[in-house]
């Protein structure tokens, strides 16, 4: 008997369009599945068809499309109730077991068929032209992954959805189970125990990570996914849970319909009296109905209210709200984590966390509830009555839209309340409601509104709830991924782009204006779509799309035509305004245009990379900053000196390649230069001097440059010059000669444009780079002086001593002058700052003036100032005692907005991102004081980077960064207990092991490190600690002391004699010098070997 029911189910499904739509959709998606899932993930040397990658992709696809399982498995029993055939069915002599078994297996087989598309889609995907450089095609890998990873969770999902559908008899409850699964998945991420986490992850993504954690690259590419270890436990767990759910469902399901009718009977009895009473001497009032705008508005309000209330009555909605709150409370435990330390629960962190976590919930609500609302009348079989009322075509759909938006708002408000509760629970009371408000209502709500309209449109067009949901989802995915195919201009990419990062210092800054214009533009477009949907929507019994299209002409009322025309005008108007801003006032570059430009830059100008050029020896700047319109003008000069032993005839000047940066004039004082402009396309100008610049001669180069942004750009515009928190460095100003930074670095792109492979860093023996301290080094040290003007609220800071400070024309002016030579690397910073000041007196040189210590910070960011100040003092103490004296008379830290997350040392100044130390919530019991450590690291750069520079070859970062890591670690060691040091080192080891797996190139040793930060930071710290442990801190310091003495940029004897900069080879020789013969191998192991 069950077999008959099974067969019936299959036949029924075979006729349903959803079955094929789902299959086809999954098939297509799986073809690009790997690319979608691993988009932006560093895969290192792992191939895209490695078994592990296949397994993870399948797991993720299954996870994402679990909703399909809910749509298939939720309905088989529910359907009988929906169509009221349950009483016909249940009086038949079929057993409950047969009925349920048949329905379940039938649907499950259909589900397997649909998810089989993942298997075949991925196999076919392997042969797609964009998949190259793969392992040989091995079908068995796919089948194995499918069996191991996908089948068990499909079974679990099938059981869960089948049982909830059968017991609740409500589709929305079934969908909510999909959320439940996702919540479980998110919750597992909060579990600290790795085994438990791997065991409980329903989609077994964490399980796969756990299984493969110790695999080498070769193993990652070859080992199969099998039922063993934690994977087996995970799968058994979920299979078992599925069986239990099925058993409970079987037990609870009642094979009668009594439960449904008993309630009715009771009510009927109470009405019997009423039925016999006789009627009708009652006249009906004649309502006075006018069809005015007011009527329409009142109708809109009343209907919206009606739909909102009906959605609020859904338990599933409240389940989502509660799930959302729980998830957020659990996940918000770690906010703004930097180096393993959490930040204070500032509102923008909370908002970002809430946004990220809740998006899934919003999308679920959007997709499913839009379907429910569109079908509400038809599901209740009330549609004919509705459709014959004189309500306009548009009002019902608009009110459904309004209702959905109201639901989002309710969910948002509850999330905001959760966020505030979380802050209170953590003793943080600066709620910043404005930030909450903007974060949700400005960043998320417009996005949801746009996609809600898309979802409604697809519901209307497809006239099939499931197909509509799927089409909307498909649109969403295609729209998101179209960006990677160069489809990215906000004018044609639906919805435009996201709003930029929020910063305490700069708010949303200049991102807000373009964002709002573009959102208004799309909302207008969407409102047209909404009207079109309304006019196309089913009214009456004509459901064929073609018929509805034909009927449109009768449904276009005069008012609608007026509305459509006027909205279209505004839409086109705003679109033109945006186009004017993004493409006329600003240059719009597609990514391929950018690539071509950079390829050409290299092809044409690479010839000049090492031509003899003078060096900058003096810089003098008059900078006027205008933060309110993000512009500046600079009037300055360089002294250029021929430090070579051959004459120089031409000076090559590279203006910064960026729009609106104008190099208004370049004058070589006392020389009639002629200008060769053949490369002006690249802002590269060749000045031929009329009088040859002989060795030892200098010339003064005056220049005037300005930056005046116009309108707004489509791309995220520069975050260097902003309303509050400007931070840029000398790369903004003209540079001498070829700039390697404009070259293409991506290996594939270089191949495509036939460019020779590029080394990350030159070889250690490269003579031409040994004389450069930085790429394209145009200086060996400068004298520096700058006068900076900014608006009257801000303080402008750069390197040097503050000679003078005054106000003029309601602007603040600052005159800085460095009293000794410094490297040609300085930053200009300007913001509305509070200042914390202190001094430090060198213990050796009491006669010297104390060094003044200054921290310029955003007004509320006072949490860690004491730690930073303490670190500055401790660092100056340690370094000047053990390495060499501190060379300047000031040391400043300046906070800048969190568009970048780093701190960086310049001569006597350290710009420090607001994200990295200022808001860290350091618990001395459990955390390492990273504010202290990072400060110490940056102070160390005043030695390693400012006093001694490293040649621009492999191993450069070992000198600059690894030594700074060591220095900071020693300061930390002096001020904090041993266990904190161990905790710090453990974190470094973890990072190193995690990151090295992602690397795409063979790992170099420390002494030959290129740009791999996990080596020079993380491995470096651990290696240096080991070294001082083995040979003694004093010995290491002695070596460094000598190294600095000999290789000091200005005074080092080896530096001045050889004319080149130090390499890691030089450094290691100092280490070897202080290391006893028996321990020499340690240096080899730590620095010269990879493992």
């Amino acid at each position: 008997m069950w077999y008959e029911i099974f067969k019936f189910e299959l036949k029924y499904r075979a006729k349903r369009p959803e079955t094929y739509v789902f299959f086809f959709f999954l098939f297509l998606f799986s073809m690009v599945g790997v690319d979608f899932i691993f988009q932006g993930v560093e895969m290192g040397l792992m191939k895209k068809n490695a078994p592990l990658v296949i397994g993870k992709t399948m797991a993720a696809i299954t996870g994402i499309f679990m909703i399909m399982a809910s749509m298939i498995m939720g309905v088989p029993v529910l359907r009988d109730f929906q169509y009221n055939v349950e009483s016909l069915l249940f009086i038949n002599p079929i057993k409950k077991r047969d009925y349920l078994l048949g329905r379940f297996l039938g649907s499950f087989v259909v589900l397997l068929f649909i998810f089989g598309a993942v298997l075949f889609g991925m196999m076919v995907g392997e042969f797609m032209p964009w998949h190259q450089d793969l392992l040989p095609f091995t079908p068995i890998n796919y089948m194995q992954s499918f069996t191991v990873v996908v089948l068990p969770i499909l079974f679990f999902g099938a059981s869960l959805f089948f049982v909830t559908g059968m017991l609740s008899k409500k589709l929305l409850v079934v969908y909510t189970q999909g959320i439940f699964l996702f919540v479980v998945f998110l919750l597992t991420k909060a579990i600290k125990n790795e085994y438990l986490q791997a065991l409980l992850d329903p989609f077994s993504l964490t399980t796969l990570t756990k299984v493969s954690e110790d695999w080498s690259v070769t193993e990652r590419n070859s080992l199969e996914i099998l039922f063993n270890g934690v994977m087996l436990h995970n799968k058994l767990f979920w299979l078992l849970l599925g069986v239990i759910i099925l058993m409970i469902g079987y037990h609870k399901f009642s094979f009668t319909i009594i439960s449904k009718t008993s309630k009715n009977k009771k009510i009927k009895k109470s009405n019997i009296d009423e039925r016999s009473s006789s009627i009708i001497e009652y006249s009906i009032p004649r309502p006075n109905v006018k069809y005015t705008i007011k009527t329409y508005c009142l109708q809109l309000v009343a209907l919206s209210k009606f739909y909102v209330l009906s959605l609020l009555k859904e338990t599933s909605f409240w389940a989502i709200v509660i799930c959302g709150m729980i998830i957020i409370l659990i996940n918000s435990v770690n906010l703004g984590t930097v180096y393993g330390v959490d930040s204070y629960p500032t509102t923008y962190f909370i908002v970002e966390e809430l946004q990220e976590m809740s998006l899934y919930f919003f999308i679920i609500i959007l997709l499913f509830y839009s379907g429910e609302l569109i079908w509400k009348e038809r599901n209740a079989k009330l549609s004919l009555i509705y459709d014959a009322t004189p309500i306009s075509d548009t009002i019902p759909l608009i009110s459904k839209f309004v209702a959905l938006v109201s639901i989002y708002i309710i969910l948002m408000l509850s999330l905001i309340v959760t966020g505030i509760l979380f802050q209170i629970a953590n003793g943080y009371y600066n709620f910043e409601l404005k930030v909450y408000f903007f974060g949700f209502f400005l960043e998320i709500l417009p996005f949801l509104m746009l996609y809600t309209i898309i979802a409604l449109l697809f519901q209307v067009i497809s006239n099939n709830k499931f197909v509509g949901i799927l089409l909307a989802l498909l649109f969403f995915i295609v729209n998101v991924s179209s960006e990677y195919f160069g489809f990215q201009h906000s004018l044609y990419k639906f919805g435009g782009k996201t709003l930029g990062t929020y910063s305490s210092m700069n708010g949303y800054g200049h991102f807000l204006k373009p964002y709002l214009w573009i959102k208004i533009y799309w909302l207008l477009f969407a409102s047209l779509l909404l009207i079109i949907s309304a006019i196309l929507s089913v009214r009456g019994t004509e459901t064929k799309l073609i018929k509805r299209f034909k009927g449109v002409k009768h449904r276009f009322s005069k008012r609608i035509i007026q509305f459509v025309i006027s909205i279209s005008f505004v839409f086109i108007g705003i679109g033109s305004y945006i186009f004017y801003n993004t493409n006329i006032l600003n240059d719009y570059w597609t990514s391929s245009e950018k690539t071509v430009f950079r390829a050409n830059y290299e092809k044409l100008l690479k010839q000049y990379e090492y031509i003899p050029q003078p060096k900058i020896t003096k810089v003098h700047l008059n900078v006027e900053l205008f933060p309110e319109n993000r512009s500046y003008s600079v009037n300055g000069y360089y002294i250029l000196k021929n430090t070579l032993n051959q004459p120089i005839h031409d000076v090559h000047i590279q203006k910064k390649i960026a729009s609106h940066v104008q190099l208004d004039s370049v004058i070589f004082v006392g020389d009639n230069v002629s200008i060769d402009t053949k490369y002006s396309e690249f802002d590269y100008l060749i000045y031929s001097l009329s009088e040859t610049l002989h060795p030892g001669d200098s010339i003064k180069m005056k220049f005037i440059q300005s930056y005046t942004p116009k309108g707004f750009e489509d791309d995220k515009s520069s975050t260097q010059i902003v309303n509050n928190g400007t931070f840029f460095n000398n790369k903004e100003f003209p540079t001498i000669g070829y700039n390697k930074k404009y070259e293409l670095s991506d290996k594939d792109e270089r191949e495509e444009y036939k460019l020779a492979p590029r080394l990350n860093k030159a070889k250690r023996e490269d003579q031409r780079e040994l004389v450069n301290a930085i790429s394209g080094g145009d200086s060996d040290g400068i004298n520096f002086e700058a006068i900076i003007g900014t608006n009257n609220k801000q303080t402008a800071i750069t390197s040097g001593v503050l000679v003078k400070q005054w106000e003029e024309n309601n602007r603040n002016y600052f005159h800085y002058k460095m009293n000794q030579p410094m490297i040609n690397f300085y930053s200009i910073v300007s913001a509305d700052y509070e200042t914390r000041k202190d001094t430090w007196q060198s213990p050796f040189n009491i006669s010297n003036k104390p060094v003044s210590l200054e921290i310029y910070h955003h007004n509320t960011h006072e949490y860690n100032l004491d730690r930073m100040m303490a670190s500055m003092k401790a660092s100056l103490n340690y370094f000047s005692t053990n390495f060499s004296p501190y060379q300047y008379t000031q040391l400043r830290i300046m906070e800048f907005p969190r568009y970048e997350v780093f701190a960086q040392s310049f001569p006597n100044t350290i710009p420090f991102s607001e994200a990295i130390g200022f808001v860290l919530d350091i618990d001395d019991q459990k955390d390492v004081d990273m504010a202290f450590y990072v400060t110490a690291h940056e102070v160390a750069h005043q030695w390693f980077g400012m006093q001694v520079e490293a040649a621009n070859v492999r191993g450069r970062h070992m000198i600059l960064e690894t030594l700074s890591q060591y220095a900071a670690l020693m300061v930390l060691k002096d001020n904090y207990p041993e266990e904190k040091i161990q905790q710090f080192l453990e974190f470094q080891r973890e990072m190193y092991h995690k990151e090295r797996k992602k690397s795409t190139v063979k790992e170099p040793s420390l002494e030959l490190v290129e740009n791999q930060d996990y080596i020079y930071y993380n491995k470096g710290a651990v290696a240096m600690f080991r070294l001082q442990k083995e040979i003694g801190e004093d010995m290491v310091n002695k070596a460094l002391q000598h190294f600095i003495r000999d290789w000091h940029s200005q005074t080092g004897k080896f530096k001045t004699v050889s004319g080149r900069y130090a390499t890691s080879k030089d450094l290691l020789s100092y280490f070897r010098e202080v290391t006893p013969g028996s321990l020499q191998y340690i240096i080899t192991d730590l620095f010269e070997k990879v493992e």
Binding site: R275, V289, A302, K313, L382, S557
Partner: protein, 288 residues
């Protein structure tokens, strides 16, 4: 005000010709639409109610071109479909209120008056706050007519409203309809012949999408008065009689077939003349 249906035709995608050149003039009062199941009654009523498109032809209601100015018609239309559902967890007064908004009655006070008036009229006032899910078939049908009357329609279309109602409930329903019919066009479709005779001033019979007969019930009966004969026969003679006479109706009485034949002159042979009924009119058209 008159409803003029002119040459209306509709063929479904599956080839069924649901309406073929239907032409009807429907004046004020109750109009009965009679026909067997599947004759096209509902199609016609849905088309008049703006819920369905016609292939050709036109419908005029006063100045309103129904097929084009749908919303104009809807403003004066009351429609009770053959089958409809309700939101089970909403009370009658709440749903009536909601539908009243849809019909444009946005003034709260007016709406309350209308809703309460109609609830009283349909004798649902005492149960107005009960969830519709608990209503009996008759109550639900009365709720249906209440919603159809919300906007004080000039054209009321009720599609087989009494199917499934017990006789008392049916009478009550018809009383209500006839009161409304005093100053409204009410189009009532049914396959119960007696209903039409009791209620309607005009009627039409539709079969296979075509109007086969139209007129006033009494006149139509008059037309065949004196031509109907009846005979009780044994079961096995049924076929012979069918061949020999124009049998318009057959039914069982105490287990034996009674046949009605239509004949200009007395067929003798045991037939007795009887008074013509509307049922005879109906079957004379349908069983041709």
């Amino acid at each position: 005000m008159e409803l003029i249906i002119d040459n209306l035709s509709k063929t479904y995608a599956n080839g069924v010709r649901a309406l073929q050149n239907v032409t009807l003039h429907i004046p004020k009062g109750m109009f009965g639409l009679l026909g067997p199941n599947g004759a096209g009654k509902s199609t016609l009523m849905r088309t008049i109610s703006t819920l369905q498109e016609a292939d050709t032809g036109s419908i005029l209601f006063g100045n309103i071109n129904v097929l084009k100015e749908k919303n104009e018609l809807r403003k004066t239309l009351g429609y009770l479909p053959q089958q409809f559902g309700v939101y089970p967890k909403i009370s009658a007064s709440a749903l009536l209120n909601h539908l009243a908004v849809l019909k444009g009655i946005t003034n709260k006070k007016e709406r309350k008056e209308v809703v309460n008036g109609l609830l009283n009229k349909t004798n649902l006032y005492d149960v107005r706050n009960q969830n519709l899910g608990g209503y009996s078939g008759g109550m639900k049908q009365r709720f249906g007519i209440a919603q159809a009357l919300l906007n004080n329609p000039k054209l009321l279309i009720v599609d087989e409203p009494t199917a499934g109602l017990d006789p008392a409930e049916r009478n009550r329903f018809y009383n209500l309809l006839s009161e409304i019919g005093e100053n409204t066009i009410v189009i009532l479709s049914t396959h119960i012949v007696d209903d039409i005779k009791e209620l309607c001033t005009n009627m039409a019979i539709i079969n296979q999408g075509q109007v086969v007969l139209k007129g006033k019930p009494l006149e139509l009966i008059q037309n065949i008065e004196g031509k109907v004969y009846q005979k009780t026969i044994p079961k096995n003679e049924l076929d012979i009689h069918k061949k020999k006479y124009k049998v318009i109706n057959e039914k069982l009485f105490l287990g034996k077939p009674i046949i009605h034949v239509l004949s200009d002159k007395d067929p003798k042979n045991g037939f007795v003349p009887i008074n013509a009924s509307l049922e005879d009119v109906y079957f004379s058209q349908i069983n041709n």
